[in-house]
């Protein structure tokens, strides 16, 4: 488990540094892969049967293969250099992530003192907060999507840790929703690049008041 935490922290911090689309999508896939590993570790440790391995398997299919694949296809259509690499200062988001990590540990020690999974719960809080921060700080549609998936992964991991997974039906529903959400967002982004000629969300500022 400790290796997973270290890997996870590394990947999340890497995510805050990367500005290039394809690399950050691969980073997301790696992050989901680590979550799948945690799924198997916890599921097989807690029991056997369908509920032990199905979530992990679904994570691999949905979050490691399908979602990054769909976003990669979308990113493949974007050829403009200015679209692919955005030039904003990434140091703020890294610093924010560091602050979130400290915050996560403080929160765990305050709310659940002495739990065995202290580090990984803190890591999941880091993922939730960093996902939110990425959605706010990044302007590219695809990077915002990646922030959203990171947030969702964080919540999923937290749920996995404290409850050993939601009931199976609910979990299947959550996977279905994430899947559809990504499909919808990909459709919208595709349309956006057709009608705005860019995937930068800052051009969308007509609706006010």
């Amino acid at each position: 488990m400790e290796y997973l935490v270290v890997l996870l922290l590394f990947v999340v911090f890497l995510q805050t540094r990367i500005m290039e689309l394809k690399r950050s999508i691969l980073c997301l896939a790696a992050q989901s892969g680590i979550i799948a590993g945690a799924c198997f570790a916890i599921g097989l440790g807690a029991g056997s049967g369908l509920h032990a391995w199905l979530p992990g398997l679904l994570t691999i299919f949905v979050k490691v293969l399908f979602i990054p694949g769909a976003i990669l296809r979308l990113a493949g259509k974007i050829t403009d250099e200015r679209e692919i690499v955005s030039d904003i200062n990434v140091n703020y988001s890294t610093m924010a992530a560091a602050a979130f990590l400290v915050f996560g540990y403080l929160l765990v020690d305050h709310l659940l003192p002495g739990t065995p999974g202290r580090s990984i719960i803190a890591a999941s809080i880091l993922m939730i907060m960093t996902g939110l921060a990425l959605m706010v700080m990044r302007k590219r549609a695809i990077l915002q999507m990646i922030g959203l998936i990171t947030l969702e992964n964080g919540i999923y991991l937290l749920g996995l840790l404290i409850t050993e997974g939601l009931p199976l039906v609910v979990e299947l529903g959550v996977f279905l929703d994430v899947l559809i959400a990504v499909v919808v967002l990909v459709i919208l982004t595709n349309r956006m690049s057709l009608s705005f000629m860019t995937t930068d969300t800052t051009v969308m500022k007509k609706l006010k008041g």
Binding site: P167, G173, L176, D177, A181, M204, K206
Partner: protein, 502 residues
Amino acid sequence: MELYVTIPQLVYTLLALPPLFSLIAAVNVLGKGLLHWLNRLTAVAAGAIVVKLVMQFDPSNPVSFGYLYLDALALWMLIIVTMLYLAFAFTSKAYLDRDTNIRYGYLRRFSHLEGRFYALSHLFVWTMMIVVLVNNLGLMWVAIEATTLVSALLVAFKFTRTSLEAAWKYVMVCTVGICLALLGTILVYYAQILAMGGAQALDWQYLAAHGGELNPALAKVAFCFLFVGYGTKVGLAPMHAWLPDAHSEAPALTSGLLSGALCICAIYVLLRNVIVIMPAVGMGFISSLFLFFGLLTIALAIPFVVIQRDIKRMLAYSSMENFGLMAAGFGLFMPLAVEASLLHMMNHALVKYALFYTAGTIMEAYGTKNMMRMHGMLQQAPRTSLFWLLGIVGILGMPPMGIFFSKFYIIDSFFMADRPWLGMLALVLLAGMLIGILYHALRMMGGKPKRKSAGELMGRLDTAVLLVLLLASGVISGTLLELPYLGDLLVTAGQIVLGGMS
């Protein structure tokens, strides 16, 4: 001969109809005429099933089967959703035809998209039916998120620049909100595991019966997340940014469904969670959050209404006002207020659907959304403007219309609950809303017309539907307690909402 069907069979049939039609519509094999008829047929069949359900279901006797659950509160919501479903089915042809006939209509260029519009709309109604019928807090979350995703495609249906912006904002803000609600749901599950083990995970009936055993501190944190999460979906300030955009950019029929049915479905899920959590957290905390954010929502909506130029945005802010009032009404947690708020859900749904439909019609006839460019409607289209005026009078809560009763009871219960200052504040806020909306609406009616008359904007069928919607709201709320069945249903639903208090 009496045809006897059990309640589970009825519910399963009800849930099978809309997806079946969606499938047929999505394949796009039917001709347009046939599609319109099948659309109406599906909705009428669903309506008939709900009527049959109402006749068979005993409000004091909840029915649970599989993952579904039907009690008075769920049936009340189901009735509202189905009424709007019927209204949708009978106004859709007129709306789509109008879009096809005007010169720059979207469907004129892409006529094959009617099937897609129908498929998505019926799926949207279906997801809302699922929301009110499932018995599991986790599945409720799944269904609410599904409504967001289906309706996002409807909001962006015409793929104009503004509708894309609205849909993007809608999906992003609502999904983040709903993810927080998932966190809240997970925490409720954790509290359940700690208190009573993992059996009957997140089952609403079981949790409602054992709510007192949850850990108070944990339940409180869970409630905060649930309130923020589902509150976002309701459109409570300050997480309301998506609401005016999505409501104003969606096709008018979708706006009606979004405002009339979807947001109250989110309130419904929030209430289900509150019923579970209330015994552990206590009333004071929950009540004050509901009251504060409810009134804040009304207060924030007023300035935007006053300066508004866009006709559908004005209606969207009026929806915010009504959701705020509902939240405040539920926040009082006393029988009269809760029943009035439930009634207000129905009234608001019916009247707001009629208003959005009328607004959509006016917008297309005038070719603009800007209210400042609409003059002299009373001279040019007396019937349309009559319905517009009736709807506006209705939504503002003036006496002959149904909303008057529900708003009056909500305000009344503020005073009965010994919160006279909040009651007065609510009254002042409602008055501000009234001034803002009435000014714009009346300005559209009066003055000299500046364009050539297009004649009446609405046909016979949609006029009849609007009339039925407005009348139904008025008659039901005016005579509710004398009505044989609905009165009972409403009182029982109110008791369910208050179930967490005892």
